[in-house]
């Protein structure tokens, strides 16, 4: 049986290392914060200007001046610092953040990422995603293996406008885990319980080595 959203987040949390500064994207990546392994101390960065993001507030603690990049109300921790958007992206672009975990619409076998635009249909914008994938040391994508219509999302080449070229290091889907050697190729390194290599092949357009 394939992984559900929480299990994908739990798997992604294994990529966290002690002392890491981490930026989590919106959606499934946000859930990763619920699965930080014991003994691993990580500091969460929010690109709107905060290091040391705490959990959601209790009802009587809600502060309109304290939100995350998804515009959700959050809390601060004893380690927290605040800064401007320019400082926040200096941190991101300058390579000071260790890991970014984010969602995607498409990923190519060379590590290209598309997650910000569907021409003529969806105009939301890239927010900080282009800066994150350009600057953060390691980029992990968490996404469903196929679209709601059943189309593969791991492709030879992305069909949608790119967020970044050769920027993804790992993809975690409901079917398994792929490692990407940026610009070279990808390999399947783990399968979700009950999923076979043939199941993965049937839902994947991208070429990949099998290393499970």
């Amino acid at each position: 049986m394939a992984w559900d959203r929480n299990q994908m987040a739990e798997r992604a949390a294994k990529e966290l290392e002690d002392g890491f500064y981490v930026n989590l994207g919106i959606g499934i990546p946000t859930l990763v914060a619920n699965y930080i392994p014991d003994g691993v101390d990580v500091t969460l960065q929010s690109e709107n200007g905060m290091l040391g993001m705490g959990p959601f507030p209790y009802d009587d603690e809600v502060d309109p001046d304290l939100i995350n990049a998804g515009k959700q109300t959050i809390t601060e921790l004893r380690r927290t610092s605040y800064f401007s958007s320019a400082d926040s992206f200096a941190m991101i672009r300058g390579g000071h953040i260790d890991l970014s975990i984010l969602g995607a619409m498409e990923v190519s076998e060379k590590g290209d990422l598309a997650n910000w635009m569907i021409p003529g249909k969806m105009v939301k914008g890239m927010g900080g995603a282009m800066d994150l994938v350009a600057g953060v040391k390691r980029v992990v994508v968490v996404m469903d293996h196929a679209s709601k219509a059943g189309d593969p999302k791991l492709l030879h080449n992305c069909s949608l406008p790119l967020t970044g070229q050769q920027v993804v290091d790992m993809v975690i889907t409901n079917l398994g885990v792929f490692e990407i050697d940026r610009g070279k190729g990808m390999k399947l390194t783990e399968l979700a319980p009950g999923v076979t290599v043939d199941d993965v092949k049937a839902q994947t357009e991208a070429n990949f080595e099998i290393a499970v």
Binding site: S46, E47, N48, G49, M50, P55, F56, P57, Y58, D59, E61, V62, D63, P64, D65, L66, I67, N68, G70, K71, Q72, T73, I74, E76, Y82, F83, S84, S85, A86, S88, F89, I92, R93, D112, M117, G120, V123, K124, G125, M126, G127, G128, A129, M130, D131, A134, G135, P161, L162, T163, G164, Q165, Q166
Partner: protein, 234 residues
């Protein structure tokens, strides 16, 4: 020179003209100049180019200026929370220039710091890079982005004094400090005007040189996504 004005309308008096460029601070609805946005709407100024990370929601923040069609063009990184924006853009009524969020922040910072252009690796190989100068540094490709300045910057701070020194609060700081530096005229609205000398000079976020006019505003501080957790019951 007296910087403190009685209200938002008075603070914008003589500053607005059709076709002007306005920078508007804030991230989502957090740290936006609520009072000055309303005053800008009420001034009736048209054909605005607005530089702001987001575009508000339909009935609050910059959404108010979209409702009245006073905005001709937006320069933003994310506009996903505004249906009227999407409608006006897809129907061709509104021009839109998307900038990656960090590039937008740095363009404002650079503009205010007298830096006309800079190189960044953000957006290389994407639509954002089309038509821009590419240059290699140490084997890596970068694109050139330009600094931004505005005819008017409107920013929101927590506290300010009569000299225009500003202190922001928590994540309501966001784009406000850079935009304060990049306006030919910067008008700030604060929650509290404090006596001179009561702000710790070591902890001032925006020095008063960047702020020409200041008002005390009334702030609704609308929350876009109220997310809470439950206390465990004993």
């Amino acid at each position: 020179m007296k910087k403190i004005y009685p209200d938002a309308r008075a603070a914008l008096d003589g500053l607005t003209f059709d076709g002007m460029t306005v920078m508007s601070g804030g991230f989502g609805l957090c740290g936006i100049a609520e009072n000055l946005i309303v005053a800008l709407r009420d001034s009736g100024v048209k054909d605005l180019t607005v530089i702001s990370n987001n575009a508000g929601v339909d009935d609050f923040g910059l959404g108010l200026l979209l409702q009245t069609r006073q905005i001709k063009k937006m320069i933003s990184s994310y506009v996903g929370e505004n249906k009227e924006f999407e409608r006006q853009y897809l129907s061709g009524e509104l021009e839109l220039e998307f900038n990656p969020q960090g590039t937008l922040a740095e363009r404002c910072r650079a503009g205010g710091a007298g830096i006309p252009g800079f190189y960044t690796k953000t957006g290389v190989g994407t639509l954002i890079a089309e038509g821009k100068e590419h240059k290699e540094f140490d084997g890596e490709t970068y694109i050139m982005e330009t600094g931004l300045v505005a005819d008017l910057s409107i920013v929101k701070a927590w506290k300010g004094d009569e000299q225009g020194n500003l202190v922001f609060r928590k994540t309501a700081r966001n784009f406000n400090p850079m935009m304060a530096t990049a306006g030919k005229v910067t008008v700030a609205e604060v929650e509290e005007i404090v006596p001179l000398g009561s702000l710790d000079p070591d902890c001032i976020h925006t020095p008063g040189v960047y702020v020409q006019r200041l008002i005390k505003g009334e702030h609704e501080k609308r929350v876009e996504q109220r997310t809470v957790r439950q206390r465990e019951t004993a």
